[in-house]
């Protein structure tokens, strides 16, 4: 049984008064973002490149839900109304501009501002800090502007083609490269946009960070090192994928390279990325353990 003093608030205010503010705020968010997410689902979220968007959205909601008891506790509320409304107005402006002018960066990005503002107005700084990772994670949900994608994709494609060619050439294969076209034996392969791995990079980085956040390593060194190393890991995984496809085409012919085995190469990509992440994590553990032993 609860003590009388804990029972009193329930008598003093009906339960609906406690969750009503959240319901209204949630309704407000739904008015803004349900149309946005429906639009995204029909367009870029159904493509391979940005397919991770809905997963990131669901994970962000889950990350907030995990901290819900902490957020819901009204006795810890220290609302920051002025700062909160400033943040909300910035978010609203970004949304109106982004929604009307088709700037997804603003339209989707405004959600981070709106959720932060709601948290400040209804609860306070402490509860905002409690969900910082969910808010940060939402960055991965924002579709990159096509100008940025275009600017990064070309150099990455060239680099992937260059490394794949160099490695296979050193291994003695009859391979030559012109731009992003690889010639091996009698076959010619064009390294496509997807092979650049820009989106693989973002998906892997998002999943890697989620892994780190959930596992909660105490060592900051290991966290930061792994988060940074995901970038070269993703690049290496893409090189391995392109080399796999090249060799499949070389030994089994064009049909195999473009058919079933093309999808298989995608799995090679994620498996090799996973293996590289686990391997790197293991090496980091050994290294930091040795460092600690030396320090002791």
């Amino acid at each position: 049984m609860a003590t009388p003093s804990e029972n009193l608030p329930i008598l003093a205010m009906p339960r609906w008064q406690a969750w009503m503010p959240w319901l209204l705020a949630g309704l407000g968010l739904a008015i803004l973002y349900v149309p946005t997410f429906i639009g995204l689902a029909q367009t870029i979220w159904s493509t391979d490149e940005q397919g991770h968007g809905p997963i990131v959205l669901a994970l962000s909601v889950w990350l907030i839900y995990r901290r819900w008891p902490e957020i819901y506790d009204v006795s810890a509320a220290r609302p920051r109304v002025v700062v909160g409304w400033f943040v909300l107005l910035v978010g609203a402006l970004l949304y109106a501009l982004g929604r009307s002018q088709d700037i997804l960066l603003f339209e989707v990005g405004s959600a981070i501002w709106m959720v932060s503002g709601i948290m400040l107005v209804l609860r306070g700084t402490r509860q905002l800090k409690a969900i910082w990772f969910a808010l940060f994670f939402m960055f991965f949900m924002i579709p990159l502007p096509s100008a940025v994608v275009d600017a990064l994709t070309q150099p990455m494609k060239l680099a992937v083609s260059y490394v794949a060619e160099s490695v296979l050439y050193k291994l003695g294969f009859p391979i030559a490269r012109s731009g992003v076209v690889l010639n091996i034996g009698q076959y010619q392969l064009l390294v496509a946009d997807a092979c650049a791995g820009l989106h693989t990079l973002f998906t892997l980085e998002a999943l890697g960070l989620l892994y780190l956040n959930v596992v909660r390593y105490s060592s900051a060194f290991r966290n930061i090192a792994l988060a940074i190393l995901i970038v070269p890991i993703s690049f290496t995984a893409n090189v391995i994928r392109v080399m796999t496809l090249t060799l499949v085409t070389f030994y089994l012919g064009d049909e195999a390279g473009q058919g079933f085995l093309h999808g298989f190469a995608g799995m090679v990509l994620f498996l090799s990325a996973l293996a590289l992440i686990v391997g790197t994590d293991g090496m980091l553990r050994l290294y930091s353990a040795r460092r600690q032993r030396r320090a002791a």
């Binding site: 407000g28 088709d102 275009d150 070309q154």
Partner: protein
């Protein structure tokens, strides 16, 4: 103490309630503002004209080279082109000295996020060319001159210097960033601009000579079309 705590909680809850009603109002107002600001009117200087009628098949010393059957891009590329543009035109012109210049126009009726001009850098590199950006240049026109972007694309033995510019809603632009700004300027006033990409190229290893030839071609073309068409092609 024990009676002050619930009073405090009740007060902060009712304050939260007021705040959340205001929040809902803000969200609804933002949603309405977002749809009111959405541009609805399409504007385009090309109007109903078709690209093939805009540029004559022969002008000055130039005429369409009918001996060259146009090479169609592969189906994948063609699908991408049709998704991006409302209309495209590709022609090879030849002059009395036998010099050939390829003219490519790509027109998109709506320049918004779903459909926008793609720069030749991407198109050529995407098809396996090694593309080098030579930089910005000036091109003489009958109305004074325009700035253009110059590229050098190579794939095996094929070397192709390229001159291009874009026109978004009648405004001359040479970068995607400038195009986006022009689109935004129109968009905030309720208009959806159109977009035209003009690309001129020739097969040559000597880029200086090729760019001079392309300059001559563009100048001849603009001198032989009505000034209204010239404005459509170069923007202002």
């Amino acid at each position: 103490m024990s009676s002050a705590v619930p009073a405090l909680r009740a007060a902060s809850t009712s304050r939260s309630l007021v705040q959340s009603v205001l929040l809902l109002v803000l969200c609804a107002a933002t949603a309405i503002l977002g749809s009111l600001l959405r541009p609805k009117v399409e504007i385009g200087p090309l109007g109903g004209d078709r690209l093939q009628d805009v540029v004559p098949v022969s002008f000055g010393d130039w005429k369409v080279d009918s001996t060259i059957a146009p090479v169609l891009p592969d189906p994948g590329v063609l699908r991408a082109i049709n998704a991006i543009y409302s209309e495209t035109l590709a022609r090879t012109y030849v002059n009395s000295k036998g010099q050939r210049v390829m003219l490519s126009l790509a027109y998109g009726r709506r320049q918004d996020d779903s459909m926008r001009l793609h720069q030749p850098e991407g198109c050529y590199a995407g098809q396996g060319f090694a593309v080098r950006r030579i930089g910005e240049g000036r091109l003489d026109t009958p109305t004074g001159g325009i700035s253009v972007m110059r590229l050098f694309a190579a794939q095996g033995p094929r070397q192709e210097p390229i001159t291009y510019w874009m026109v978004v809603g009648g405004h001359h632009v040479i970068s995607q960033w400038q195009g986006k700004l022009a689109q935004l300027r129109f968009g905030l006033r309720g208009f959806i601009p159109d977009g035209l990409l003009v690309r001129v190229s020739s097969i040559s290893g000597d880029s200086d000579e090729a760019f001079a030839l392309q300059q001559r071609f563009v100048k001849d073309m603009l001198e032989n079309v009505p000034s209204s068409v010239g404005r459509v092609l170069t923007g202002s």
